[in-house]
Amino acid sequence: MELENLRHGTELIKRGFARMQKGGVIMDVTNPEQARIAEEAGAVAVMALQAVPADIRKAGGVARMADPEIVAQIIDTVTIPVMAKARIGHFVEAEILESLGADMVDESEVLTPADEMYHIDKTGFTVPFVCGARNLGEALRRINEGAAMIRTKGEAGTGDVREAVRHMKKIMGEVRELSGKDKEELIKVARDIEAPIELVLESADLQRLPVVNFAAGGVATPADAALMMRLGADGVFVGSGIFKAENPEMMAKAVVEAVNNYDNPEKLAEISRGIGSGMKGMSADTIPPEEALQTRGW
């Protein structure tokens, strides 16, 4: 077998990578030490970024891709996949992360958008992308641009799970509504939600999104993670929730175990005991609309 016969970066490989993350927890980390804690706790991957969303909110200013030096250090530290965030539309940040060896790029609303009109054309990349979405139309537009994985946007950095719940229920509900519709009606749906008809038909047929769909944005406790799994998430991203908790090691391990035992309340009670308090957080409805992260992207 010759190496030149190998085909890289196909859709099957990009979507396949996302499938391997299912049932897992992906944790935000800002340095190699945190990455090691996440790996030790059983995270399936880590997300490298400059500051966790709660600190990005506090700091204000422009939030960009993480320092490539830190990303490289994290890649050298752990054996699990390393993902990293690029600004919406900033294809050069994405190219840099790809060249560093990041295993997935998150084109993320948590960072300050670089383009107010267009998301990155993700089809041309070898590295797979994950993108945030609040509803079915947004999810299918991102998939059409080449996203191999979707996550709910939620409201990052709040530790308030309500927006993630809203977005997951919205997406799941919209997919359920597709069943029983005939082709003409589905064409109308595609027009209404501004999504490609092929992807609407595929979602109707599969009765789910055509790619893996994780929960993100406000997950702060083992119970939050289990809740999102009960609502149909394929897995969970935890941002500020781990390293803003009183005891990050215990919280990280507990969230992983909660995702594995999401339908067992006795086990969840045991997992949630004596792990210290979760991040303080802020109620998502106290955030003025202009400071909401979820309205970035479209």
Binding site: M1, E2, L3, N5, L6, R7, H8, G9, T10, L12, I13, G16, F17, R19, M20, Q21, K22, G23, G24, E39, G42, A43, V44, A45, I75, T79, I80, P81, E98, G101, D103, M104, T126, V127, P128, V256, E257, N260
Partner: protein
């Protein structure tokens, strides 16, 4: 016939679908059980360890008490299929990366594995692979795939890429570095189901 699929993490539903379709094609009844906790493996006629993150899977099967049950089942001759991360778990020995993470190995096949033998995600690939028991090539999907670097005398090497072993069998244990569950081609699942009746 009961096929157990370790369902702790990874692409479980894809394996469930593939096995159900294969059972349906064979026209035989069968039940697919998801293994998330102890107590299920002893009821299975075959066990599949799917792809996922091997570091995570290794830790969790230990924590959930499933590891010892799979070892006992394999010893009793129950067929075990490990794909990708599952290939790492069935091995007896690992490379430096495997040791670094204190990876728990089940030690069912006398091989040494290299955790990410082909590199990171950007190096992941598809290739048409020749396998001795198939009459035409099989499209194999390798995702941050491991490979077997060194196999003991009991191990049948089934396929290699540039000297790295990507498919191997030792009696009732079958290890694949790629993902037969990600393509519609069910020939490898059929090959595995054939092992149930003969062992």
């Amino acid at each position: 016939m009961r096929i157990g699929i370790m369902a702790i993490q990874g692409d479980v539903s894809e394996h469930v679908d593939a096995v159900e379709r294969a059972l349906c094609e064979r026209g035989i009844g069968g039940e697919v059980l998801e293994i998330r906790h102890e107590g299920i493996v002893p009821r299975c006629d075959a066990v599949i360890l799917p792809g996922g993150e091997s570091t995570t899977l290794g830790r969790l099967i230990e924590r959930e008490g499933i590891a010892g049950e799979i070892q006992n089942a394999a010893k009793d001759g129950i067929p075990v299929l490990g794909t990708c991360a599952g290939l790492i778990l069935v091995a007896t020995r690992g490379d430096e990366q495997v040791h670094k993470t204190h990876q728990h190995l089940l030690g069912l096949m006398d091989v040494k594995v290299n955790r990410n033998a082909f590199g990171r995600q950007r190096e992941s690939f598809e290739v048409d692979l020749d396998l001795p028991f198939l009459d035409s090539p099989y499209t194999a999907i390798f995702i941050r795939a491991p490979a077997i670097m060194d196999a003991g005398p009991e191990v049948d090497v089934l396929s290699t890429i540039n000297g790295r072993i990507v498919a191997a069998r030792q009696k009732n244990v079958l290890a694949l570095a790629f993902h037969p569950e990600l393509t519609p081609d069910l020939r490898l699942h059929h090959y595995f189901l054939d092992m149930i009746s003969v062992t």
